[in-house]
Amino acid sequence: MRRSRWMGLAMVLVPLLFYAVFMLAPICQSFSYSFYKWDGHSAATWVGLDNYLSFVTDPVLASTLSHVLVLIGFFALLPIVLGLASAALITRRALPGMALFRFIYFLPQVLTSVVVALVFKRLYGPEGPINESLRAVGLGSWTKAWLGDFDWALPALGLIGTWVTFGFCMVLFISGVSSIPTELYEAARVDGAGPLREFFAVTLPGLRSQLAVALTLTITGALRTFDLVWVTTRGGPGTSTLTPAIALYRAAFENPQVGQAAAIGIVMALLCLLIAVAIGRIAERE
């Protein structure tokens, strides 16, 4: 069997090579780029931590992080609360037709983001169903171009995220609940626990790993939002829906400040890593 271990090494070296060239090497380069000021053509100059400090000194870049916080509310918290509520309310018995519902709830997950963006452009449009129904009930003065409004564009984008992620969270939680041992529920009932106590004592702890996964995926999803924003608002109006990924794209390819773009990428990756590790730790400890 010893020989097979070397055979195994020979095999894993093939994917490792691709991984090293297309991921590991660029990560290291990203770090070194991030300490320079470079327009992509002329010579680069060393600027130390300036590109990182601009998250503090540049109000526009700083605002992308507060936009992310708003998006997290819509991409992560709202769908998870909705998903938990439905997982708690829906019976643990197998319901006929559940497969069809699962199919529907998962649909937004397989639709390409460009199409999702267009779907909501239609919904939010000046003559879209939302504005039409407002007019129909006599609230014509409330109608607006939702994605073109300084105050409403960000929450409107956020709701698209809610639509995309809530089905995933819900299906994840419902499948998680069905694997919680029935005895735990029976024991809780014997102890005289009401539905609310049952939820906090049995359901919620039983869904710990699913919760950790849902939180990690949706929060990092909110942090990395690009496609939806790019197709609907391009970060506008003004900079009201600018996300870090859009800022990165602009800095990398539109008016090249390559070092700045690399620093944004590194900050995003570190935040993702931090979120994943922190949530994993909390989920394990309890």
Partner: protein, 270 residues
């Protein structure tokens, strides 16, 4: 019995309500695609099926759909080969150095594409691999390694050890064992991975926006360009959107359980 029935009714009412919340936007989009009106407002009883043909021609989807298909099929094929090699090497053969090498690969699952995109672009530019399909496919293959190896390793490890021992006693070498014994048994995992990989590559927007232009545009980016040009013709835009979404949707309808269980399992195991 009575509470049982009431419970069932409440459950279904909730499920239907949530299903409507998901389907309503889609329904509004489909009816816009079939509307003869440029703004996409549906006209009762009139279905403008020709919108699909017009959108197909105006957006030159025949080109970009072929690009997307080429890219997705070749990337998935290459990803599969790498994933099987890595998964088998780590999962069955216990590759020398795996204590260090496997966590190194797993680390890649946590690295977001944003952290590598900038140097990747400038490196590829140097190699003249920007706006080139092989270059773009290579990026998908390379960045797909972590999840692929992780996925196939789990599949190989779920096989009972005894079948490998039996094959070993029969004198089968590592490669013969992979081809004759292991591969046929992990076919379901391979199919699920191929479906997910196809979906991820087909649906990619960020990478193709950066790396491919003009004739090399993928369908998703072509749709984005189309919607910029035809801002005032929402019915055509919606029809184009449905065309682009169709291939993955058809696969999803056929293989729905694989898609759902694959995405849930992939997420949970990470």
């Amino acid at each position: 019995m009575r509470t049982h029935k009431a419970e069932t009714i409440v459950n279904y009412a909730m499920l239907v309500l949530l299903a409507i919340a998901v389907l309503f936007p889609v329904f509004a989009f489909v009816s816009a695609a079939l509307s003869p009106d440029r703004s996409g407002i549906p006209v009762p009883g009139v279905f403008a099926w020709e919108n699909f043909a017009i959108a197909w021609q105006e957006a030159e989807f025949s080109k970009s759909m072929v690009v997307s298909l080429t890219v997705a099929v070749s990337a998935v094929a290459a990803q599969l080969v790498l994933a099987v090699l890595g998964g088998y090497g780590f999962g069955v053969l216990n590759a020398a150095g795996q204590k260090f090498l496997y966590p190194l690969i797993l680390f890649g699952i946590m690295v977001s594409i944003e952290a590598i995109i900038v140097p990747l672009y400038y490196q590829m530019r140097e190699l003249q691999l920007t706006n080139s399909l092989p270059g773009y496919i290579l990026i998908h293959v390379g960045t797909g390694v972590p999840f692929g190896v992780f996925w196939m390793r789990a599949a190989f490890r779920s096989l009972p050890r005894s079948i490998f021992e039996a094959a070993h006693i029969d004198g089968a070498g590592s490669i013969k064992m992979l081809l004759n014994v292991a591969l046929p048994l992990v076919k379901p995992a391979i199919l699920t991975y191929a479906l997910l990989g196809f979906m991820w590559t087909w649906n990619d927007y960020f990478l193709s926006l950066i790396f491919l232009h003009g004739d090399n545009q993928t369908a998703t980016v072509a749709l984005g360009v189309f919607q910029g040009k035809y801002l005032t013709q929402f019915n055509l835009m919606a029809a184009g959107g449905l065309i682009i979404a169709a291939p993955v949707l058809i696969l999803y309808i056929i293989f729905q359980r694989r898609f759902i269980s694959g995405m849930l399992a992939g997420a949970l195991k990470e």
